[in-house]
């Protein structure tokens, strides 16, 4: 995504979405690891 003055709002929204996805993926990996260890 190339950010310019026109789409700063859109970019901020994307950052938020990315953060949520990172948390979700981290939780999935953590669950995998716990399942493996158990």
């Amino acid at each position: 995504m190339n950010i310019s003055t026109e789409n700063v709002g859109e970019a901020k929204h994307k950052i938020e979405k990315q953060r949520k996805l990172i948390i979700l993926l981290s939780v999935v990996i953590l669950s995998f690891t716990i399942l493996y260890l158990l």
Binding site: M1, N2, I3, S4, T5, V8, A11, K12, K14, I15, Q18, R19, L21, I22, L25, S26, V28, I29, F32
Partner: protein, 479 residues
């Protein structure tokens, strides 16, 4: 006003950075999930813990190499760390007294003979660039090809190909494009000859890189795989097979280029090559050039005659390293600039290949496939095309690292063929600007569009495997 504009630019840059970094983190996490998922699907009680760890590492490396969440060399380092940590722990449980011994071999790839061979090549390439020997040879040879555009193009492509057999493909392309760019700038943006040059140079660098073991990292991976399976394959043997392939492919690529991009002019002025370096006429500079040329020739002769004098190619590599540093051609500052990341990637790749082989993981899966009685020639074609396809999207070294250890065990006879075909096919991937660093350099001139690479990519991707397979099989019958 200017202050607010700078502040807004800085703010935008910051947002862009956050988006990019978070994207990389997402790719990294997805790669881990991909590795967990595939390992979970493929794991079964017949596999021991070491094999499961290596399988996970293989899928993780594939994921990271494809997504480029981290640079390719970082994956190489990750491979070392993971193997030492995971396999070290596993072997410590089974045999605590000798656990270090089991893991040592995975770290020893750092001092593998192909790493030394490549390092010798890096020193020579650095020295050639530093004293301007590359530019001198280029100017001297190109003038022999006349002034007709099609032959000038052939000359430039052949010189690029031969250089990239010694120097890295990237450095060769950078040097060649820098040399022809002043001329290209005098042509129209859409001039067919300018496109032919900008597509031909990176293609010749990649295809020419096939010619020697040090020309391209996949070649080194293929040779090391053969050597580790007890098949002696040296510098000379590689050149006997790969040099003709490289030259034929460059020639065919040139034929396609001159047919698609018919030059508008009948002759071109080679005056753009005449601009001289300020230092080039000084006596000391000339002496240095001759000295580097001498070291280069001596090293090449010793590499090629290894069968006669018996000095291993890796030991010969010390010759340019010693001589070039002793006579201050290559300084410690230059050594810091060498492409160490390539060595990290190759060493990591060799470790992964070794782990796949040593833990018996490759053998386990190969035995399952072997029951299907696959046709040898069909396998060769499939692996060659698969290599080209994968190399277009990920590092060609990574592709060779993944496919060669599997391929070499897959066949019981003619074990030489598949590693050679894969190693060479990895250099035939030219479809995208990101397929190879040489393509990226040509693209960065801003004079090519992404679609301009497709023609060359299709030509090299289809004709490349055909020529490679035909010549490798033919030579295997003859030798």
């Amino acid at each position: 006003m200017a202050d607010s504009r700078t502040a807004s630019k800085r703010y935008m840059y910051k947002i862009q950075r956050v988006v990019d970094i978070q994207q990389k983190i997402i790719y990294f996490l997805l790669s881990v999930i991909f590795a967990f998922g595939l390992t979970y699907l493929l794991v079964n009680p017949a596999l021991d813990k070491a094999q499961v760890y290596v399988m996970f590492l293989l899928f993780l490396a594939i994921g990271l190499w494809i997504t480029e969440a981290v640079p390719p060399f970082t994956v190489g380092l990750l491979i070392f760390g993971f193997l030492v940590f995971a396999l070290g722990g596993y072997y410590h449980e089974i045999d605590p007294a000798n656990s270090a011994k089991y893991v040592q071999k995975y770290v020893q790839t750092w001092s593998n003979s192909v790493i030394w061979l490549m390092l010798g090549g890096f020193f020579m390439a650095e020295a050639m660039q530093k004293v301007g020997l590359d530019r001198t040879i280029f100017k001297l040879t190109i003038s022999k090809f006349g002034s007709k555009p099609r032959y000038v193009l052939l000359g430039i492509m052949l010189v690029t190909a031969v250089f990239s057999m010694i120097m890295s493909n990237t450095a060769t392309t950078a040097m060649m494009i820098a040399a022809v760019l002043p001329f290209i700038n005098t042509l129209d943006t859409d001039a067919p000859f300018s496109k032919a040059l900008l597509i031909g140079i990176p293609a010749a660098a990649s295809l020419g890189g096939m010619g020697t073991i040090i020309g391209s990292p996949p070649n080194a991976i293929a040779v090391e795989a053969l050597n580790s399976h007890g098949i002696a394959f040296g510098f000379l043997e590689w050149m006997m097979v790969a040099f003709p392939i490289a030259i034929i492919l460059v020639f065919i690529f040139w034929l396609f280029l001159i047919n698609k991009y018919v030059p508008k002019v009948s002759t071109i002025d080679l005056g753009f090559l005449k601009e001289v370096d300020e230092n080039s006429n000084s006596r000391i500079f000339m002496l240095k050039k001759r000295f580097v040329l001498g070291v280069l020739l001596l090293t090449l002769v010793l590499w090629l005659t290894g069968n006669i004098h018996g000095i291993p190619a890796s030991a010969v590599s010390l010759l340019p390293i010693m001589l070039l540093t002793m006579f201050r051609i290559v300084s410690s500052d230059d050594v810091r600039k060498l492409p160490w990341d390539t060595l990290m990637l190759v060493a990591g790749g060799l470790s992964l290949g070794l782990a796949i082989k040593e833990t018996g993981l490759a053998e386990y899966y190969v035995n399952l496939i072997r029951d299907y009685n696959l046709n040898f020639y069909a396998l060769v074609v499939v692996f060659s095309l698969l290599t080209v396809i994968l190399s277009n999207f990920m590092s060609n070294t990574a592709t060779a690292t993944i496919l060669i250890p599997i391929a070499i065990i897959l066949v019981s006879s003619n074990q030489v063929v598949l590693p050679l075909v894969i190693g060479l096919s990895a250099s035939a991937a030219l479809f995208l600007p990101i397929s190879t660093p040489p393509n990226a350099i040509a693209f960065s001139t801003g004079k090519l569009e992404q679609k301009d690479f497709r023609f060359g990519g299709i030509v090299a991707g289809l004709v490349g495997p055909v020529i490679i397979i035909a010549i490798v099989l033919l030579l295997m019958v003859l030798i």
